[in-house]
Symmetry: C2
Subunit: 192 residues, 2 copies
């Protein structure tokens, strides 16, 4: 899912990892408006309307970025995320994307994490979420949430581990020459 | 610069890093045809024509990807890369992007590296290049070349170090919660 001023790597890190597995996954980009979505990094992506997937998808990825500050107050979008997130097989959030998911209530009584620099703001969007500040990523049933930006890649490889096994995930990390931090509890960015 | 079947992260890793520095850099996407460029990860990006920047740019980034196998034989594109690469202030390649740059002759008698799994093919595109197999990235005057995919992010942070200082680069890495491998001679993917 995209929205104006999404964070570039929140999206394209996971897209690099899942997109290359063409025998398993197909990537499609959606937004509320179903038109071209831009961000302040100069990236423009053509999207389809989220209402096309209102019955859920296999993997629903919600990125973060500056745009989340506006979208948490977009009642229409939060309603759509709740609907799609509820019916999708897996829901993955990167960075402040967890603020959007928290706002739906779907994370209530579940563990979750988010970007470290935006953490204090993120948690105001979900008072009943069991927020974990020090984590590279968290897993609670079908909900995966990661820390800031780059952590989305580590989480996605962790997600692949759960679905396809550790050797499979390691092979992908090797293919993209990525120094994967594969322990979700190790977070080098939560205490500075 | 984009072309059909570019590698997603080769582009959007560096775009995440440079694109957030809006006071220093502005990102634009170009291709030979100047139209929508697609890759097999499902990503579509609108581009302008490379001929618009034929007199060079500040930073000319050449990604890799499956598409390089075709583009090394695209004499017209190689000529354009030679022209723009020659006149640009800095030229950065990621992954097999160095095969395209090598083909122009601009890397002759210079050190360079590339994707490890494609290395034996890449070096056939530049017999006079001083190829270095074990390197996360290389620097030779204005030419920066990185290893595969994720290495482009490490190189871009190294490039920022040279232009803005180490503390500046470290700050960016911290902002995007990236475990930056900041030693360009350390390559964990060259011997497997």
């Amino acid at each position: 899912m995209l929205f104006e001023d999404f964070e570039t790597l929140d999206v394209f890190g996971p897209v690099e990892i899942l997109g290359r597995l063409t025998e398993h996954y197909q990537i499609d980009f959606y937004s509320e408006i179903g038109d071209t979505i831009n961000n302040f990094h100069g990236v423009s992506i053509q999207t389809k309307k989220l209402e096309n997937i209102i019955n859920g998808v296999d993997i629903f990825l919600i990125p973060g970025g500056l745009g989340t500050r506006k979208e948490v107050n977009n009642i229409s979008l939060i309603g759509i995320i709740k609907q799609i997130g509820g019916l999708s097989k897996y829901v993955l959030t990167v960075c402040t994307g967890s603020a959007l998911l928290a706002k739906t209530g779907l994370l209530d009584n579940r563990i979750a994490t988010s970007n470290k620099r935006a953490f204090d703001w993120v948690i105001t969007n979900g008072e009943n979420v069991k927020w974990i500040r020090k984590a590279r990523w968290t897993i609670d049933d079908k909900f995966y949430t990661s820390s800031g930006v780059s952590a989305g890649m580590d989480m996605t490889l962790g997600f692949l581990t759960d679905l396809h096994g550790l050797e499979f995930a390691k092979k992908i990390a090797f293919q993209i020459e990525y120094n994967w931090q594969d322990d979700k509890s190790v977070d080098n960015f939560s205490e500075q």
